[in-house]
């Protein structure tokens, strides 16, 4: 029987291990492109102003900033660990979602593994013991001298009750003669196999059982059989001795387990009750700001705009402006969209709207390089006003825009400076 089950358990174990390995991602290929690398780093960096959310999953402004920084650092050729170190040097080690595997924090990794190993070991021991007991007691209906007397009592009580039930059912006409005799023969055989009723079976008589052999009520028979052990000084029997030892061992296990639990708490309480880092809360609540919804919509708009869905992007920017008419990002981006669409279709009213929005955006956020770039482009291309465009491009360059944006804008910026007869700044020189 064991030889048949063994491969099944082995198969289950192999399936489990393979599933865990696949799930753990060890077989997935390492990220290759910069964008994939950035995405994989972003997935393990915690959003600074949220709880238990990666910057990849969060649209909070702090997460947006961290994402931009990660991409910038990846582009600069920093390794994954250097980027993590860069962020840890500013936010502390909690900025990484996975706790470090050193110092006290390593307990977080060690304890679950240790707990798992102990749990499996206990499970195996319990199952093996149960199987051993089951093999002798349940499969064969024979309990040897070493079997637990309590189990024997229980078994005897069950069989006695079963016989009584059979009697009652037979009298009520629910059982045929053949069935009744067969059941009775089986249970009596099993009762006989249990051996004579020992002294500890006194309570069986007390619960009005029917005697297996005679069918009469049992108390008299059973109590007469009771040896002196019940009233005199009990002689330590081997079973009782081993039971006591087993119970003693179990108690020690229990005391040990409680001791471990208390020790873990003693370690954990001072460890986790130290000063919390900013952003951490006792309740684990997520800190929200009124502008987070806006930022989320702006993110969505930027994404669909990059995908070329300009109409949908315009709708999303408009949605932000409906709630916050002064939002400089939405003003600048929608203004720029309207300018591009207006130019394509030569739509004067759209171009006029674009000019209004871009002017508002520049006024609302003098430090926003994008608004200056958009307005400068409009002034140069639509009005041919190179001098005014240069003023905007000066502000654009002063706002330290990312190198990629400068590279994209270099041509139009150079054109403005050249037309206005002003020397071209070094940052956009060809």
């Amino acid at each position: 029987m064991r030889s048949r089950r063994f491969p099944l358990w082995t198969l289950l174990g192999v399936v489990l291990v393979v599933a865990l390995l696949i799930g753990s991602g060890v077989f997935s290929s390492a990220p290759v492109t910069n964008a994939e690398r950035a995405a994989s780093i972003e997935s393990v960096i915690r959003c600074p102003s949220c709880e238990d959310l990666s910057v990849a999953d969060s649209s909070a402004p702090t997460a947006v900033t961290v994402r931009a920084t990660v991409r910038q650092l990846v582009d600069h050729g920093l390794t994954d660990s250097q980027i993590e170190e860069y962020l840890v040097a500013r936010y502390g080690s909690t900025i990484v979602l996975d706790p470090p595997a050193s110092g006290w924090s390593s307990l977080v990794w060690v304890l679950p593994v240790a707990g798992g190993v102990i749990a499996v070991a206990v499970l195996v021991v319990v199952l093996v013991r149960r199987r051993q007991r089951g093999a002798s007691a349940l499969d064969d209906d024979v309990l040897g001298a070493s079997a637990d007397p309590l189990a024997v009592d229980e078994r005897r009580r069950f069989l006695t009750q079963s016989l009584a039930d059979a009697d009652a059912e037979y009298l009520a006409g629910d059982l045929s003669d053949a069935d009744y005799l067969s059941l009775r023969h089986r249970d009596l055989g099993r009762l006989a196999a249990l051996g004579p009723s020992p002294a500890s079976s006194a309570p069986i008589g007390a619960v009005s059982a029917v005697d297996a052999q005679s069918g009469t009520t049992a108390p008299a028979t059973l109590t007469e059989e009771r040896p002196v052990a019940a009233v005199g000084e009990p002689e330590p029997q081997p079973e009782a001795e081993s039971r006591r030892r087993r119970r003693g061992r179990n108690n020690w296990f229990l005391i040990g387990a409680i001791g471990c639990f208390v020790a873990a708490l003693v370690v954990a309480v001072p460890l986790f009750s130290s000063d919390r880092l900013p952003g951490q809360t006792a309740t684990g609540s997520v800190s929200l700001s009124p502008s987070q919804q806006t930022t989320r919509t702006l993110d969505q708009a930027a994404t669909v705009e990059n995908e070329g869905q300009l109409g949908l992007a315009a709708q999303l920017y408009q949605q932000v402006l409906n709630g916050h008419p002064g939002d400089e990002v939405a003003l600048a981006q929608l203004g720029w969209l309207e300018y591009k669409i207006g130019q394509q279709g030569a739509d004067a009213s759209l171009l006029s709207d674009a000019r209004t929005k871009l002017t508002q955006a520049v006024a609302a956020a003098p430090g926003d390089y994008a608004a200056h770039l958009y307005l400068g482009t409009l002034l140069l291309q639509l009005d041919g006003n190179a001098a005014a465009a240069v003023t905007q491009f000066n502000a654009f360059l002063a706002d330290s825009p990312p190198a990629t944006v400068v590279a994209q804008a270099a041509t139009i910026v150079r054109q403005a400076y050249t037309t206005a007869g002003i020397p071209i700044p070094a940052s956009v020189a060809a």
Partner: protein, 199 residues
């Protein structure tokens, strides 16, 4: 004592067996209660995170650069080393604790303006420049307030939420980090402590 004993007078073994188990359950219960009570006591007596000076890898290190456009559109850069104590305060107009500490910062700036030993620099955190500008104007804050629209200064300082305040020593080291509404008295005592430790 050797005759037949009626069943009900015999101490049946089965009734004495569960005794250790009942004790065990009691002990487990008591232990869990004691531990739970201890945890509650520890957590309940902890000072709330909002009023404590918190850890930061930056404390003791050189302050990251503070430069950019102010909410008024002027370029500002904190000199390195600054030469005086600098209270670098990250705030937002929508943040209620910031509104609590605002008047305290104004008082601190006013008190130290004459002595010239400390000054305040604010950085807008997760807020529009226009809202921050009108908030600072209402407050009467005349010190430089950087717009930080992309949160780069906040990232440099590892700021997670407003209000967050860094105290920078004259030699450019970060000497304290508070995530709470600060008072002028708090800042004065932090400066005194920094001076005592040789900043």
């Amino acid at each position: 004592m050797t005759g037949v004993v009626p069943p009900e007078t015999v101490p049946a073994p089965s009734t004495t067996q569960p005794t250790p188990r009942r004790h065990t359950a009691r002990w487990i219960g008591v232990t869990v209660l004691v531990v739970a009570a201890g945890l509650v006591a520890v957590l309940a007596t902890r000072p709330p995170a909002a009023v404590v000076e918190v850890q930061s890898p930056l404390v003791g290190a050189q302050a990251p650069p503070v430069r950019g456009l102010t909410v008024d559109g002027k370029l500002f850069a904190l000199t390195r080393p600054p030469g005086t104590f600098v209270v670098l305060n990250f705030f937002a107009s929508w943040c209620e604790p910031c509104q609590t500490e605002g008047p305290e910062l104004v008082r601190f700036a006013f008190e130290h303006e004459q002595a010239g030993d400390a000054r305040v620099v604010s950085v807008v955190f997760d807020d529009s420049a226009s809202d921050a500008r009108s908030y600072q104007a209402t407050l009467g804050a005349t010190w430089p307030t950087l717009a930080d629209p992309r949160g780069e200064i906040a990232l440099g300082y590892g700021v997670r939420e407003p209000p967050s305040t860094f105290l920078i020593a004259p030699d450019g080291r970060v000497v304290a980090y508070i995530v709470a509404p600060v008072t002028a008295a708090d800042l004065d005592s932090l400066i005194a402590r920094a001076k005592a430790t040789g900043a």
